[in-house]
């Protein structure tokens, strides 16, 4: 489990022995539901080699590039020859792709300290600082130390990325490995056995994949609201800014210059024809402006859009930033709206949106603003409340708290609603997975037969009924697996963004 990054440990001195405690790494565990999607997108972004690397690394938890290469070669000995490329070419391609994946942070180096529990690491750092002092620290000093460590941590997160990039730019692979090693050696906390090995281990960086998927989702928002051209523009901005994104919780993307943007736009983008000008804007010549001007117009439209995701960087002209926080909120909100609409119907969404906009409201006000009869509204409010979307706040007018003299105010708290939905989504994922085991267990005899070596060699040993049953099983399993993946995807939006 430690090899697969799903368990972390902590060591503690108890009397005269050292006791090791283990803890499940929940974040990493939950990410495992996304593995199929990671594989699909590895192929999309890094071709066949990317998928091979990702699946090999995922199968082993963490690997060095050498081990990874060996494993891929071992597993695909026969198929390489079919593709008509020499072994050497293939090795080169894989190495290149591996470098690219590290460079784009889809793979991340594993530090020895990654296997320690995060809380323990923080405590150790804190202790080191306090040990330097002669007196026990005051509360203010302690807070100061903690803030300092926190800043150091985020700086490390930043600098290691920059450092990685610099070494990669010198492009020779062996050099890069050596550099990496030296950097780690100076870290000074090489405790784990695996790190005694001379090479650096890499694992899949789920967070980077999630960042990219989120960016795609943000761009898609603009396609539904405006048009495909708007999506392409936003997509390009996010792609340019992606390199500097560190984690999912950032508020803003780094600023992007409009000239750089113009040069990076995809060639098939249609800027001029997709804009409809008012006649008085075109002037007497009645000709549309050129692409450059149209891009300016597009940026203006995007900036003035009610979603308010794209913003001008304050103080600098021609620089655009994307409010990732606002975008995440909108993504979450629209996902919850879609869930409520498909689960209950659009009148429920109406109530939800109204409360989101107006804050706390009473039943009667809701009925009046939503133009629905009170008795319908009451029923809808209770349904949404039991579902975890709404909150009820009681405000008694008198001290006796009599129900007749109490205001009952309803409100929507988006984070809380998201939490409650995430719970339900995980429940559904668990159900789907359990059902998958059940479906397999039902046909255990058949599956056992399929595993026999003689049946594997000659499919004709299965009779027609058995073959049909196998087909059914496969489609059932596919259905369940695909559904689990889709639900996991929704959970990511609600939980991680």
């Amino acid at each position: 489990m430690i090899q697969h990054n799903i368990a972390v440990y902590a060591e503690a001195q108890e009397r005269n022995r050292i006791v090791t405690y283990y803890e499940a790494n929940r974040a990493e565990l939950l990410h495992r539901a996304l593995i199929p999607k990671v594989l699909i997108y590895s192929q999309k972004w890094f071709e066949r080699e990317g998928e091979a690397i990702a699946s090999t690394i995922l199968a082993h938890g963490k690997l060095t590039v050498v081990e990874c290469l060996k494993d891929i070669q071992l597993n695909t000995k026969s198929s390489t020859l079919v593709s008509g490329r020499s072994e050497a070419q293939r090795v080169l391609a894989i190495k290149k792709t591996f470098t690219r994946m590290v460079k784009e942070k889809c793979l991340i180096a594993v530090k020895p300290s990654d296997s320690l529990t995060a809380a323990d690491k923080d405590m150790a750092d804190e202790k080191r600082e306090t040990d330097k002092m002669t007196l026990p620290p005051t509360a203010a000093e302690l807070a100061n130390i903690r803030a300092g460590l926190e800043a150091q941590k985020s700086k490390d997160q930043n600098s290691s990325i920059v450092g990685l990039k610099r070494t990669l730019d010198s492009s020779e692979f062996d050099d890069f490995d050596g550099d990496k090693r030296r950097r780690l050696m100076t870290d000074g906390d090489l405790v784990i056995v695996e790190e005694v090995e001379s090479d650096v281990y890499f694992k899949i960086n789920f967070e980077r994949f999630i960042i990219r998927w989120r960016n795609m989702q943000i761009a898609c928002l603009y396609e539904t609201r405006l048009n495909p051209t708007a999506r392409k523009i936003i997509n390009t901005i996010l792609k340019l800014a992606e390199e500097r994104m560190i984690n999912i919780k950032e508020d803003f993307s780094s600023p992007i210059n409009s000239i750089l943007l113009q040069n990076s736009l995809p060639t098939d983008i249609n800027l001029v024809d997709t804009l409809e000008f008012d006649p008085q804007e075109l002037g007497p010549s009645n000709t549309k402006p050129r692409a450059g001007e149209c891009l300016e117009k597009y940026l203006q439209i995007l900036e003035e859009d009610q979603m308010q995701i794209l913003k001008k960087d304050a103080g600098r002209s021609g620089q655009y930033i994307i409010s990732l926080k606002a975008a995440s909120r909108i993504l979450k909100k629209s996902l919850i709206q879609d869930i409520v609409a498909t689960r209950f119907g659009s009148p429920y969404v109406r109530i939800m949106n109204m409360l989101l906009e107006k804050g706390k409201l009473e039943e009667k006000q809701i009925s009046r603003f939503s133009m629905m009869p009170v008795k319908d509204v009451r029923e809808k409010l209770t349904t949404l409340c039991t579902y975890g979307i709404l909150n009820l706040q009681e405000v008694p007018k008198t001290n006796d708290r009599a129900p007749s003299r109490t205001f009952y105010l309803w409100e929507v708290l988006l984070p809380r609603a998201a939490d409650s939905l995430v719970d339900r989504l995980y429940h559904t994922m668990a159900n789907l997975r359990q059902r998958r085991f059940v479906e397999k267990a039902k046909r255990a005899v058949l599956l056992e037969k399929c595993e026999r070596s003689d049946v594997k060699d000659d499919e004709n040993l299965l009779n027609a009924a058995e073959r049909k049953e196998l087909e059914t099983l496969n489609s059932v399993l596919e259905m369940l697996e695909v559904q689990e993946m889709r639900v996991a995807d929704m959970a990511v939006t609600l939980k991680e963004l």
Partner: protein, 306 residues
Amino acid sequence: MVDSKSLEDLFYDECSKAGNNGLTTTDFLSVHKECDPKDTALAMNALLTKGYIEVFQVRGELIYKALKKEDVGKAGALHGEEQVVYNTIRSSGNEGIWTKHLKSKTNLHEAVIKRCLRALEQKALVKAIKSVKHPTRKLYMLMELTPSVEVTGGPWFTDQELDVDFVEQLTHQCYKYILMKSFPRDPSCIFTSSHNAYPSAAAVRKYIMEKRISQVELSVDDITMLLDVLIYDGKVERFIAQVDEDWDDEDMDTESDWVYKAVRDKKAESAWQDCPCGVCPVADFCTESGPVNPAGCTYYSKWLDF
């Protein structure tokens, strides 16, 4: 010496002049010193019985108010309790008065009030109505008055109930109109940000009234209510119109600066609801080892039946 008949007229005229503020006996006698207080009292009594004037008590003083002659005709024909009930109902105006309030105001017995109301209804002087706010209450008001918006709930109510279909249809029409105005004909195109032909509530109202979509007269406020609903539905957005000097004087009928822009229609989709768990009514009881469990779930069996 003024005879009793002309004294009545005189007092009535003075009351009418005083208007809504009313008149006290002292006021009257200070103006018409020639009148005898006793005769005046008699005249006032006569007027009261005929229903020409009303009496109120304000800070220990009795104030008299004149009633319009045309109202008097009806009330004058009434007597005693009926008249009291009639006057109380009349004072409630177009809001109507609830029988229970009627009772507390008149201090009459319930049976008496019931009898009076029946009599008044027979004479077609008052009518019973129902309020939107309190559907169980029976309100009374004068026959010739139309109930206020407070009572009827405005154009959205038919028979004291919200006309949901009517509202839905109208909102849909509003949305269609705004959508038409929000995007160019070619669906892959968008307007530039200087485009300023987005409709305001007044423009939507004009469209609705011109197309005769509604049989009922609707105000801009009514339309704004519908548009608010569309905003909550996430179908339109509202923003302050750009002020363009050249175009300013052309749309004088727009009172508010808010204009509306449609959001492209998007079908709500959720992958979760594609599987039984997303719509399961008993999901809260579903556990691995409980009576409701994924292994024996009939919804799943149906879903996975190929």
